[in-house]
Structure formats: C-alpha cells, structure tokens
C-alpha cells in the first residue's frame, strides 16, 4: 500500500479470518506522514481491530502497529523479530485451529 492510511479495519479482520497468526502494520514515523495523518489513522484502526479481536476471542495483541523511516532496515528487522516472538508466544490463530478441527 502506498500509505498505511489506506489500511482499514476490514483488511486486518479479513487477514485473521483467513488464518493469519498476526498482522503487523508498519508505517512511517509519526509526524512524518507524506499525507499528514495516514499513519495516525492507521494506528487508530489497528487499535479498533485489536478491540474487536479481543471481543471475538482471537486476541488483540496479534495486530500491531510499528513506525519507522524507510532508511531503517535494521529497525524493520528488529520489529519483525519482535512480532515473530510475540506471535510464537500467543500460538496459532484460534480461528485457523477451529477451522482445521472442523474440517
């Protein structure tokens, strides 16, 4: 996507519905959005999705928002590792587990 401002709650929800274990939305640094507030809107949408995911028992922590600038390769790697660790801790997406069980 050209800007995280385009990320909507439905994109995050559909990812989990399809079986994703986690979704990381990675936007530019806050205050440095080319479109002014795209990354701030994205953060609010991630928070919204987290609440819904908690309500339906998927776990809001599986959706995370990260910010970095495009030149920060090592930081991207650090966030990716962090996210992977977090998801490993949380285990597989319970929706996928339930789906497999039903199949």
């Amino acid at each position: 996507m050209p800007c995280t401002g385009k990320v909507d709650v439905i994109h995050i929800m559909r990812s989990f519905e399809k079986g994703a274990d986690g979704v990381a939305v990675v936007g530019c640094l806050e205050g440095e959005c080319h479109f002014n507030a795209g990354n701030l809107m994205a953060r609010r949408r991630v928070e919204q999705a987290q609440k819904i995911l908690d309500t339906v028992g998927v776990g809001g922590q599986r959706a995370q928002m990260y910010n970095l600038s495009s030149s920060e390769g090592p930081r991207f790697a650090q966030y990716a590792t962090e996210m992977t660790e977090k998801i490993k801790e949380l285990g597989p997406n319970p929706i996928r587990v339930a789906k497999n069980k039903a199949a």
Binding site: G57, V58, A102
Partner: protein, 222 residues
C-alpha cells in the same frame, strides 16, 4: 441526517446466539455517512461474527449486503428472493430501517445493529452533534436559526435560564448555551429587537406528545 452509533459487538453476538443463517444488512444513507452502518461496518461486523462463531465451534453462515435504503419498500424488495435462506437479519440501519425491514419480512427476526441517537450534523470526522428534534413545527425563523428545542437542555422558548454562564449551559461546561447562541446570532443579524418579543406557547401536538406522527401530502400522493 440521522446519527447512529455502533452497538457493542457483544450485544449483537448475544442476540444472535441461537441463529445459524444470518444476514448483516447495511444501509447506504445516513448510517454510512456517520460510519455506523454502511458497507464498511457491515464487512467488519460480519467478519467479527464469523470469527466468533468459528471460535466457538459453531457452523454459522453469515452473509453481507448493503441496500440503498431500508426506509423504502422498493429497496427492501431486493432481498425478497433471498430472505428465506436466513433465520435472522442484523440491520445496521437506523431504527426506521430496522422497523421497516421487520414490517416487510414479518416472520423474520430483525435485530438492530446500531443505536440510533439523534438528528444531527457532522462537526468533523468522528464527531456529530444534535441539531433537530423533529418537533413538527419549525420555529427557527424566530430564533436566529438556532433550535432551542434540540439545543437547550430545558427546551426554553424565552431563555436563557439563570444557569447560563459565560456562554455555557449549566448542565455541562462543554455545552454551549443555546440561548447565548441565539442572542449572539440575532445580534449578528441586527435583529436583537426580535429577542425582546415573547415567544408564545408552542403547540406540542405536532411533537411526540401527540403520538406517532404521519405526513400525508396530497400533492405528491399516488
């Protein structure tokens, strides 16, 4: 427009717990503008309901559809051929849409997916405020275009009351005193003399006090 707010998903889940084939039905009008019941919200709710059902090990079919309006029969007719596949509908329209859908499909449970709140305007994205209570006899011509029925906590017609302080209402320091707004506006219009005129008793029979209301327009009726 009619302003609505989302209902907590838990509440909707509880309503639907015994149903197996559910249609989440949005409306393309006011509830789309106030981001409570349009196509996007239908998608998010349907996805949440599907995940919840799946997590609980239930086999539930949840479909999504958004109609142009739910307060007109011609649009509600669009689901006439498909409604039998569902044993419940969650309508994300305002209370009018929910009821009109229920009237058209008498043997189908139609649950509300939003809380209909008021007739209002968009202050900014995500902020809506009340402007009209549809009292049935508009007096905005005499009050500088500001409605004391909708915006004065006491619905005063010859205000302000003694609780008006530095332009704010005594019910809440963040709420503008409607009568201060009226006076300011009349001043800007150089019509402060109008403020001196006593507003006569209002005929409330056109408001809800007269029971459910009806408008019959012979000029457009078929």
């Amino acid at each position: 427009m009619i302003v609505a707010d989302k209902k907590p998903i838990e509440e909707i889940i509880e309503c639907l717990k015994d149903h197996k084939n559910i249609l989440v039905l949005g409306c393309n009008e006011c509830v789309t503008v106030c981001e409570a019941g349009g196509k996007k919200e239908v998608g998010v709710l349907a996805s949440a309901l599907r995940m919840n059902a799946r997590k609980e090990g239930k086999e539930v079919k949840i479909d999504e559809l958004t109609l142009e309006r739910q307060c007109d029969r011609e649009y509600l007719d669009e689901i006439r051929d498909s409604i039998d596949q569902y044993d419940a509908v969650v309508s994300l329209a305002c209370g009018v849409g929910v009821q009109f859908t229920a009237e058209q499909y008498h043997d189908k449970p139609i649950y509300p997916g939003v809380n209909t709140t008021f007739l209002g305007a968009t202050e900014e994205r995500g902020v809506w405020t009340e402007r009209c209570q549809a009292c049935g006899q508009c007096i905005l011509a005499t009050t500088g275009g500001i409605c004391p029925v909708a915006r004065c906590a006491k619905r005063l017609f010859n205000g302000p009351c003694g609780g008006s302080t530095t332009g704010k209402c005594e019910i809440n320091a963040e709420v503008d005193c409607a009568w201060q707004l009226i006076v300011d506006r009349l001043k800007a219009l150089e019509r402060l003399d109008d403020y001196e005129k006593l507003c006569p008793l209002k005929d409330w029979s056109t408001d809800r006090a007269g029971g459910p209301r009806k408008v019959v327009r012979e000029d457009v009726k078929q």
